[in-house]
Amino acid sequence: MAVFQSLPQAISENLHAGDSVAFEGFTHLIPHAAAHEVIRQGIGGLTLIRMTPDVIYDQLIGMGLVKKLIFSYAGNPGVGLLRRLRDAVENDWPQPLELEEHSHAAMANAYEAGAAGLPLAVFRGYKGADLAKVNPNIKSVTCPFSGEVLAAVPSLRPDVAVIHAQKASKRGDVLIEGIVGVQKEAVLAAGRAIVTVEEVVEDFAEVHPNACVLPHWTVTAIAQVPGGAHPSYAHGYYERDNQSYLAWDEIAADRERFQAWMQDNVIAATPEDFAARVAKVRAAK
């Protein structure tokens, strides 16, 4: 049953050092504010899971909070590589980072299987691809009807899923609209789910019957954080702040510059700062 909390409380009560955690969002609705709160609280030893690790994972890794990453594409979308992640993988800075690498199809299927309560996902994939040679979690099953050999990966069942959504109802149902990504699957696959939202509304009476809604009893904690996806975007609220993504490439290029930026913009900041950050992209639509 969803509880409305402050973001610091939602994180401290539900995410613990050593947890596996998926901050999901496919370019859209990336839970930046929640990730920054984790950094402020210094919750470490995390196994991070995500199809598309980008800036927030670069930040968590660069701050030394991550021991393992399960992923399928690690890049600054539309910009380039993730420099903090590279530094961890190539130079063990600030600490070594274990990688479990999949394809998007495998990760998407593995979340789906996790949501469906299955131990594995079965799909047609990895044909001729070297990932199957370096990742022991890529196996196969043989179809008893056709004889076809299909790829199998373990389902994803994170301890915690963290997402950002547009709206919660007062009862705690959560609405996601636009590019919905794998957020529903991540929440349903996880043991606990923390959701930040742009706003809390009376109810969803006017919402489309087939819209993506997570009923309140599938969510653990909800924190209202306007702008909480910035520099990602919230469909209907504010646009993607592409300049911030371009700027990140330079900030993350240098260890000291990175640390200074994190001090100013994360450690010394609060969830309430996000509202001001989206002011410039709010009217752009």
Partner: protein, 258 residues
């Protein structure tokens, strides 16, 4: 024929756009593929279906997205589905006719590396990884590859097979049980290469205007093969070039306004 000047990059994008038809359903990547697909849509293929892996089906963006999940893709889409559905029903379901891929390293058989330079466990450069590419390469009807030519990119042997093309050539795909065609076209800033259906190797079919065979070989790490009759890629038409310029100008204006 146009009087306008054009860059090799623009020629690459326009040559790629020409390879697309009205009935195609394209899985679009960011960068050159996105520009090519949208130029095709805005010129000779108005009914082409563009799909981005973020779940947006049948998009028609006014400006090029910076990421594969920009809001404009959803705003202009026929429908937006979840990512698991995208990979299960739409890609694995065999509904995509053409998948566009880029490459950090590419070999002559269309095998692609976007994972690591060097050893996987101790990489010299850790690249972003495969993302959708491994299954795009196996599930789409055909694969088109676009990249700028360089000896660093077009290599004799790639360090890691992120996406399987034609393996070591010949019937390699059939042997793996793949029923799709794999890479059939490589469009670079210098030439259009087509896959030899027998050997599975890229062969230069046309050189972009002003490009020599020597330039192609100098920027290619394997011994380039040329068709018996290599043609000249028709230069961009006024319409093609204007469409691309306008698209880029709208994109710059939109992305710069923050």
């Amino acid at each position: 024929m146009t009087e306008q000047s054009f860059t090799p990059d623009e020629m690459m994008t326009i040559a790629a756009a020409r390879a697309l038809g009205n009935d195609d359903v394209c899985f679009v990547g960011i960068g050159a593929p996105s520009a090519a697909c949208n130029v095709a849509r805005l010129t000779h293929a108005p009914d082409i279906t563009l799909i981005y892996e973020s779940g947006t089906i049948g998009t028609a963006p006014d400006v090029l997205p910076l990421s594969i999940g920009d809001g404009i893709l959803c705003d202009t889409a026929v429908t937006t589905v979840s990512v698991p559905e995208m990979f299960r029903y739409w890609l694995q379901g065999g509904r995509i006719t053409i998948g566009f891929l880029g490459a950090a390293q590419l070999d002559r058989f269309g095998n692609i590396n976007t994972t690591v330079i060097g050893d996987y466990a101790k990489p010299k450069t850790r690249l972003p990884g495969g993302g959708g590419a491994p299954e795009i390469a196996s599930s789409c009807g055909k694969i088109f590859i676009t990249m700028k030519q360089s000896r660093r990119g077009m290599v004799e042997k790639i360090d890691f097979v992120t996406s399987f093309g034609h393996g070591a050539g010949g019937k390699a795909r059939e042997k793996l049980g793949l029923t799709t065609k794999g890479p059939t076209l490589l469009i670079t800033d210098l030439a259009v290469w087509k896959t030899d259906p027998e050997s599975g190797e890229f062969v230069v079919a046309s050189l972009h205007p002003g490009v020599t065979r020597e330039q192609v070989q100098e920027t290619c790490g394997w011994p380039a093969r040329f068709n018996e009759s290599v043609e000249e890629t028709p230069p961009p038409s006024d319409l093609e070039l204007t469409t691309l310029h306008d698209l880029k100008a709208r994109t710059a204006a939109a992305h710069g306004k923050n």
